[in-house]
Symmetry: C2
Subunit: 461 residues, 2 copies
């Protein structure tokens, strides 16, 4: 850690004078705020401040500036590429107490929330009004964190990602100024798209303190289906044909045999241990039945069996909870297991080939890594299950991860579909974007010339 003690002492004194017991320097609190849900080791900040308002955030930023201390925003700590690690010490701004739902405009199908609101909290709040917010990363992440990492999830194939579903943001800049990136209109061509610039910036350009989101009416009818296939390739081919048919399927998720086995053990389910698709259809009663029938036909062409569909809410909930708990199921595959999760996204025409080559890599390795994916978008995940204290396991995961990312890039895909860069994928950003990274760096330097906003993440300065 580069934080000089003298700097830290004066900084903490000033923060304490302003925030009193909302400041913590306890080792356990700092440790908890320096790690996410991946294998990355904890890199604790010097202090954690629990913010309750945009003014709090602004004051923290101004005090940190004065002492030249890094600023790291923290939502629910469920990131996967080390986004919250305090690589250079500094102050963590915990936003979990900023968890008010500021406004729901049901007529306009939008709402404004503070960054600490979690996706489950929001949907519980919306349910009675017949509305929902579709973006659902596995964890019960905060909306602020989801915005900052441009998260998506199982519904993205139909509803888009955070990129498409954030209408406006309030942001505290590195110099303490507070801006609103947009009005609440559905579309605008008034100036540069600052909303999209901050979505996915991982705290490196400013701290997001409220978020206006698009909402959707809960569909009249929802049904889910499960279908298993002889091979992974058969399942992927069925996905490709479904997507290319233009069917508005709401969810289409792939799980391999390793993943199903882990899920059955962790979630006490009894899915067949085989390459499997989990699907969901949204629409009118008639449309949902039509879609399920059409997909069943496609699945059959690729050897799909046991096609089971249900409109029972409890069955659906159980199935999707199991899917969302996939990362925890992977961790439970071995005692004290940690996961090194990685995700890539390729054009769908290359998906089968990309998954097949990846599976061959895994078959030749001593590491276990279940495959699971939002395959309707061409996005899939591996989770290397490992013991981070064993260098040979880390080395093997690194080797396989690099091969996976380079394979995706060679197919005109991306190094990460939804986990972000953090500091885990810094080198891959350069491999992916080349010269364009220098444009990202120019933007970063323009908005944060002292490199205080979550330094060491997304772009190297």
């Amino acid at each position: 850690m580069t934080a000089a003690p003298a700097r830290t002492d004066a900084l903490i004194e000033e923060l304490r004078a302003r925030f009193d017991n909302r400041l913590s320097t306890a080792a356990a609190v700092r440790e908890q705020h320096g790690r996410d849900e991946s294998y990355h080791r904890a890199m604790p900040p010097d202090a954690v401040v629990f913010a309750q308002s945009t003014e709090d955030v602004r004051d923290i930023v101004l005090i940190c500036r004065k002492h030249n201390a890094p600023i790291i925003p923290f939502g629910s700590g469920t990131s996967l590429e080390g986004q919250v690690a305090a690589l250079k010490g500094g102050v963590c701004i915990d936003l979990s107490q900023m968890n008010r739902i500021v406004a729901v405009n049901s007529q306009d199908l939008d709402c404004t929330v503070e960054p600490g609101v979690t996706r489950k909290q929001l949907n519980e709040h919306l349910r009675d009004q017949g509305l929902f917010f579709p973006i659902d990363p596995g964890a019960n992440a905060s909306i602020g964190g989801m915005t900052a990492t441009r998260a998506s999830g199982t519904n993205a194939v139909r509803y888009g990602t955070m990129r498409e579903n954030v209408l406006a943001l309030t942001v505290v800049l590195a110099d303490g100024r507070v801006i609103r990136t947009s009005k609440r209109a559905r579309k605008s061509s008034a100036g540069y798209d600052l909303t999209r610039l901050f979505v996915g910036s991982e705290g490196t350009l400013g701290v997001i303190t409220d978020i206006t989101l698009r909402l959707y009416g809960i569909p009249e009818a929802i049904s889910s289906a499960v279908c298993s296939f002889p091979t992974l390739d058969d399942a992927v081919q069925a996905v490709i044909v479904t997507i290319q048919s233009g069917m508005p399927v709401a969810r289409i998720e792939l799980l391999d045999d390793v993943m199903l086995d882990a899920i059955n053990k962790y979630s006490k389910t009894s899915f067949r241990v085989a390459p499997t698709l989990f699907l969901e259809f949204h629409g009118s009663e008639r449309a949902v039945a039509e879609q399920a029938e059409a997909v069943q036909g496609i699945a059959k062409d690729f050897g799909g069996t046991d096609f089971a569909w249900t409109a029972k809410p409890e069955d659906r909930t159980k199935m999707w909870q199991a899917r969302h708990d996939a990362a925890y199921a992977a961790m439970a595959m071995r005692p004290n297991g940690k996961i090194w999760p990685t995700d890539v996204c390729v054009p769908i025409s290359r998906l089968a080939e990309c998954i097949a080559e990846t599976k061959r890599d895994l078959d030749g390795s001593f590491l276990m890594a279940p495959i699971v994916g939002h395959v309707g978008d061409g996005n899939f995940h591996l989770a290397f299950v490992l013991d981070p204290s064993k260098p040979e396991e880390l080395k093997e995961a690194e080797r396989l991860n690099e091969r996976l990312v380079m394979r995706a890039l060679a197919m005109d895909g991306t190094s990460t579909g939804e986990h972000g860069i953090g500091y885990g994928k810094l080198d891959f950003l350069v491999a992916e974007h080349g010269e364009a990274v220098s444009v990202m760096r120019a933007v970063k330097m323009a908005l944060d010339p002292d490199n205080l906003m979550n330094p060491g993440k997304v772009v190297r300065i």
Copy 2:
């Protein structure tokens, strides 16, 4: 014009040496490239170069840099806020000869085109493959220009705008470097969203030299409907209820009585002269019938009459061509008429109020201005029909436009839904975004420190 003759001579000499007869300094050519389709007077560049490749564009940029000359990209000249005006002289890069469709990946539902390809050209090319690109501003605009102004059109309520439908760009930067903003994956969280930064930047951050777009399968069934209403408010209320019901209507367009009258005269149609909705439904045969029926029911609740729907392609084409020609119909309302077009976009809950107040303004003015709008998004347009040589008419249009924009901003709307800022709405950008404009300026200065890229547009330096 600030261009000193000495600078211009040396610049033109060097450009001529490289581009020979693809360089023009003819008055007529310069004049044609200095104006768009609005009332803004022509501000001709010093020279026009017809680029045929990314390398051409790069060389023009490098030569202009050397001579400190402004660079203005030009697609089809159909912008509406003076985006192509050479406010400070300089070189216009005409991109209309870069009109190749580089690749269509039908399996991935995407394509890559050069910036001079027009939307009609693209759709003609795609039709045989059962695909289409939905974004349709009134004019047969170039895809490059549509990208640069973040255009949308009648389908945006269902398919989104250029913001949602551009996957990746190639851009020549102000220093001549060429970057690719993204891979072809459907989603990515790899770094800052440079694609969205350049979409809507109106040539002020770089010159776009190719564009990768999302495509859609031509729906199994398409039907259109026309319905007239007793009052504008009734029509708007019907729109609001339709949108709030979550119905996936593909197009829902409002035209007022003045507009219908002008269209009937210009396009030789015989629509009833009354507040009217033009609608379109996309989906399966069944879904389309279901939607049309549901909307007819809603329309009836608001006094809608003469609800006529058709699936005949020739009827649909005629109706939408008339709609797309609305701007030309407005110009034809008086001899040698020009239009001052303006557009705002508000949250849909405020739409009826916003239109009603605007109509009251127009009723009290001596200027004519038909109202037409993509009301499903809360977006509507006025076109003041005027003679730009009459200062009192310009002044009155200015007054009404300012009242309209300020009304929209007060309703949490935007100063422009799809026409962009150009230099016509520079002041409104500040009214809309406040402090955030300084962030836009910082980005502009970081990417174009000498302010050579389309200077005087979007942000004042």
